[in-house]
Symmetry: C2
């Protein structure tokens, strides 16, 4: 970065150029003023969610590129809107950069972010860029909308509801383990991409919300064990899931040998899969499809009246405590 | 922080308690789900703005308390809504904390933030809390609303418009200099409070927007020299201001002797005053009051057709280049 005003003005202009999208009649004011301004559709609720990514905690440039980071910073936020059954609309980014970061990095970061934004027809409308004494700090805020009667929360799961997940679980954590073991920046395996370029499930979330199938829904950011405990606590229920029903990613045998743990462990506690976990009243179970626009959906268990989350593993039954990614773990 | 899920759950509960406000019928879902959800008033525009504060760049615990930080993190965002002529409604906070930070710090931070939030009837509705390897990073996003025809931007200033500022300028930078020179945590002088507890000018911003007096408005976060250049560039105009008309804070004589520069320097380039700078068509000038609910308003110059910002200082005329706080200065 150069010092002086032009650097900041130039950067804002460049971001505006990278982020430009077809004209949006609802957007009254975008990047460059004290605030952005837009209009909501009548009768819709505004959804808002924020997720921060911190260098050395959530990402590491030994294996993550600037584009990956931009993609992921948006993906984790889109996933929150997906979990509400909503449609994402606008995004703001706050980014604190140490002095050694180049303008090229900023460009590549916003290219990664806007590549995913375009797929979801989301527009970057503002943010803040400032200095950091050490390490990059990112915070992305997403704005979405949802019809009030279609909004899905974590709160309304009922005993007897069937539990489902989209996609496969554990791939992101396996990808991370592979990546962090390589000495040089490794080839981009399918598994690595699951960690670096997660695909938020907005289409599936909306599909489910439109049909009003789920009683409760959450996205799997911290790992099945943690997020299922969240959903249960907030719904005031327990859960029972079957290990054999949890969908695991196909891992090539030579990669599998390198893993420190059983694939099921990553699926239960790994985190960052950004799939959807949802409960459906059992009478609506037959209406849950096996695939949503090509994305597999698996039934993995059910909600119970007794609190606590239990895992059935063959003849064994064990309590599944939150063991996923803890933001405060030392 | 203890590790394990309870710490995060407990913290969220505690924040919910500190932030609790009278029932808001527009708020459908608050802290604790994947996103917050609220309803907008019909016909209003949604305003959104984000500002980050980074330890070692924007604040220093040698003279800033956790409460001050919470207050200021919200104040700088409220100021952006004030500059649009809007009404602030909701706020989200993202906070990355190093492991040595205590739960008490988090409590005090949210007490400071919610003290100001209550004054402005703003509700904390969500955010993210995560770990930082070093130093505290904060990002606050504010949501507000405004009637479309009352929204004020930086863009519509016209040559001949009169320029006004609210309050007094330079106090925050003078306060910062006093604070950073003291060896121990100094007594809270009026000047220190200007830096630590800025008062966002939401009431004045709304007053002006309701009467549709300004053609353009901006808040003074980076300093008059920088922010006036922003407003001029975005309006495609120049400006001429008079040094003798710039309102300076009253500084006790013994403090004044300790300052490294002339008070005018702090007023022009100091930044963080969070007063409002606005342009008014000259025919509406007589309708601009001398005070808005007790807050002084001063005419300091006018917009010009020729680009560039000029300062008249006695018989001297000098170009006023952006010399305020630069977020990328080394």
């Amino acid at each position: 970065m150069r010092s002086g005003l032009p650097s900041e003005v130039q950067m804002i202009r460049e971001i505006q150029k990278i982020a430009s999208r077809p004209r949006d009649r609802r957007l009254a004011l975008s990047i460059g003023d004290d605030a952005a301004a837009f209009r909501m559709r009548r009768g819709r609720l505004v959804l808002i969610s924020t997720d921060a990514l911190v260098e050395g905690i959530h990402f590491d440039f030994r294996y993550c590129s600037a584009e990956d980071l931009g993609w992921k910073a948006l993906a984790v936020n889109l996933s929150d809107i997906a979990a509400m059954g909503g449609t994402p609309l606008y995004v703001t980014t706050s980014i604190a950069l140490p002095s050694e970061v180049t303008p090229g990095f900023v460009r590549r970061f916003y290219r990664g972010l806007t590549a995913l934004a375009r797929q979801h027809e989301v527009t970057l409308i503002g943010g803040d860029t400032c200095r950091s004494p050490r390490g990059i700090f990112l915070d992305v805020t997403i704005i979405g909308e949802v019809e009030p009667r279609r909004m899905l929360t974590r709160r309304s799961g009922m005993p007897g509801d069937l539990l489902y997940v989209t996609g496969e679980l554990g791939g992101s954590a396996i990808g991370l383990e592979m990546l962090s073991r390589s000495r040089k920046r490794p080839a981009r395996s399918v598994t690595a991409r699951r960690h670096l370029r997660p695909l938020p499930r907005c289409t599936a979330g909306r599909f489910l919300a439109e049909r009003r199938l789920p009683s409760a829904m959450i996205d799997l950011s911290d790992g099945l064990s943690t997020d299922l405990n969240h959903l249960c606590r907030q719904s005031g229920v327990g859960a029972m899931i079957e290990a054999s029903q949890i969908p695991l990613p196909g891992i090539p045998i030579q990669q599998r040998r390198l893993l420190s743990k059983d694939p099921l462990h990553y699926a239960l506690h790994g985190g960052e899969d950004y799939e959807l976990l949802f409960a459906v009243p059992s009478r609506l179970g037959p209406r849950v499809p096996k695939h949503i626009h090509g994305l597999p959906v698996h039934e993995i268990g059910c909600l119970t009246r007794t609190p606590g989350v239990w895992l059935l593993h063959g003849n064994d039954k064990q309590q599944l405590l939150p063991g996923g990614f803890d933001h405060f773990a030392p």
